[in-house]
Structures are given as C-alpha cells and as structure tokens.
Amino acid sequence: MAQALATVPENALEKVIAGELPFNVYFGFNRGQLDAMAALGFNLYEQGRNRDAERIFKGLIALDSKLFYGYAGMGAMALSEEKLDEALSYLRKAAELEPNDPTIHANLGETLLRQAKFDEAAAEFEKALALDADEDDPGANRARAIIDGMEIVVSELTRLQKAAGQA
C-alpha cells in the first residue's frame, strides 16, 4: 500500500475525474488485497448478507471501474434477486472486462433465458460451456444443470402436446 501512496501523479484527481486513472491510485491496494476484498464480498453474498456484499461490490467498482469483480458480484446478486434488467447490465459489463470467465457467461445465459431471449441465452451458455471444457467450474455446472433440466421439461411438454393433439 505504501509504495503506491508515495507515487501519486500530479493532478491525479483531475485524471480520476476524467476516467484516466482509478481512485485506487490514492489507496494503492495491490492485486492480492483487491482479490481478498472481492472474496469477502462473494462470501457475504453466499451467506445472504446482500446489503453488505453490495457495499463491497460497489466500492470495488468505485475503486477501479476496469476491474470486473464488482460488476460480476452485482450481476450475480441481481440475478439471484430476479432483477433481470439490472443483472444484464452488470453482467454485460463484467463480460466485456473479463471475456474468459465461464461463470459470468453462465449467469448472462441464465438471465437471458429467464427473459425468454432464447437465441442470446443459448449463445452465452455455449461460451460458458466452451470455457470450462473440464466441467469443473461451479458456475458453468449450474448452467449445465439448468440446460439438462430444461431439456427434460421441454421433452415432457412436447410429449404432452402430442398426446393432447392425438386425443
């Protein structure tokens, strides 16, 4: 932390306001500390302490808007609360900043599926699955379970529809 505190560029605030520098230039939190803050936010969300988690995620976005953690956390939380438009906006930003994260694409797919945007949902799910070829990622595996579940439901509905047509 001290190293960054010692090297704040001249007129840093003007650059921060112009979006050229993150606020973190004043704090100098290193990557390990930022990751730990993100992990704290994720843990709070997992425990259902969403308002505390929100403070961490929004703080991370304020600290460095180029870091995807805050957007990914806010997106997952909005999706879990079924605030789909909000989730979509945060998750699209997270995917733009970190395009190789299977969980973010899985969450985007789920959001779009819930919105009945089937083509876009399928495209996001395909990205999530491709990025997790070993089928180890919990976020991508949630997507796989949803797809498998939907396959069963659709297959049963099709069977019922055919049966109704024959009757």
Partner: protein
C-alpha cells in the same frame, strides 16, 4: 405454459428443481408480457416456449457430457475461481488484516473528503449529501468497532496518508474552480459522480472494518 410450472416439480427434485422452476416461471412471465414474439393466449406461450427453446437450444440439448450429473449451485456464482488470485480456503479478512489501522485512518479521511465534496456543489447534490450523512453515521460505527480512534487531524500528519492528503489539496483547488464559476456543467456533474464514488468507497471500507470487528468479537467469545 402455466401448466408447465407444476410439471417441473414432478420431473425434477433438489436444487435443480427449484432453479428450473424459477427459470420456467420467469420465461412464462416474460412470454406472457409480450416477450419473444408475444403470447397469443396460453397455447401461444406454450408453443413459443417449445418452438423458441427447441430451435435455439438444439445444440445444447444434444451435447456430449463428460460427467453424468452436474451439481446445481442453489445461487448464481459470482465468478470463476481461476480468475480470482486469492486462495478461497483462506480468510479474506486475514489478508486484509495486514492493512491494520490504516483502514480506520482512511475511513476518517474519506469522511472529511466527502464532507468537502458534497459541500462544494452548491446544494445541487442533495442525494450525495444524504449519502454522506449516512456515511458519517457508519464512520462513527466503524471507528467504534475498530477502536483505532485515529483522528483525521492526526492521520493527515502521518506520511502513510500522504496520497489522501494530496487528494484533499486537489479537492480544495477543484472546489475553488467550481465556486468561481469557471467549471462547466459537465465538470460539475463529473465532480458529483466522483463524490458518490468516494461515498461508496467509504461504505466499503466501513463494511470491511465492521466485518473484522465482528470476527474479532466472535473469536474472543469463542476463547472465553
């Protein structure tokens, strides 16, 4: 389509049943609300679901799997572990704990800065001022929780807060610019946005301190 919702419960059990049920409910709501080509009555919704999903998810439904079953996490995950350079088995507060009392000092300095920023926008930032008020209350709680009691005045005298001291100076000069009427409306709005961001930073650091304090209290109670 509404008939599909109880059907899910009879087909799928456990977490995946709950999640798929909620997904199907969401789709039904959106199709009924005119999404994806409109509803056209219950039959239309039913047809839209089968037609839409069948067409878009054809490749996904028929895909090869390495594992027979995939665990369905009850809540959406935030991000993949591979992209977070922090060992999840470690306590994040332990990692942040090495910031020590610095966090307490930062929180107090941020409180001062927010006061300065919100006071500078000629009453145009009522929301931000309200947020700063709330943040001020949180600061009291945070300071009480940490027990560090580093007053902002003494913090500004310390070298470790030099960067935030320089921020204080820059805020002063920007305030002058705003007051003198030389700033554009855009600059003023940018300034207000940064005030809100500082408030969010303040709330984050206060929350972190409160978590640390709660954990310490729990640890002490467990020892006793």
């Amino acid at each position: 389509m509404p008939a599909a919702i109880p059907l899910v419960g009879s087909l799928l059990s456990g977490p995946v049943g709950g999640v798929v049920n909620s997904v199907v409910g969401g789709i039904a709501g959106n199709l009924g609300a005119g999404g994806a080509g409109g509803a056209g009555g219950p039959g239309g919704i039913f047809g839209n679901l089968l037609g839409g999903i069948g067409k878009s998810f054809g490749k996904l439904f028929g895909r090869k799997k390495k594992k027979r079953h995939h665990q369905c996490q009850p809540k959406p995950q935030c991000c993949s572990q591979q992209h977070i350079q922090f060992p999840t088995q470690q306590n994040p507060l332990g990692q942040l704990g090495n910031l020590g009392d610095v966090l307490g000092g930062l929180v107090k300095m941020l409180q001062d800065l927010i006061g300065k920023l919100t006071g500078s926008t000629a009453g145009g930032a009522a929301g931000a001022a309200g947020a700063a008020g709330a943040a001020g209350a949180a600061a009291g709680a945070a300071a009480g929780a940490t027990g560090s009691g580093t007053p902002a005045g003494s913090a500004s005298g310390k070298g470790e807060y030099a960067a935030l001291n320089s921020l204080q100076g820059e805020v002063d000069s920007l305030k002058e610019k705003l007051k003198s009427g030389k700033a554009t409306r855009g600059e003023e709005l940018d300034f207000q946005e940064k005030s809100s961001q500082l408030t969010r930073l303040f709330e984050m650091l206060s929350t972190m301190i409160r978590q640390q304090s709660d954990m310490t209290k729990t640890a002490i109670q467990n020892i006793r």
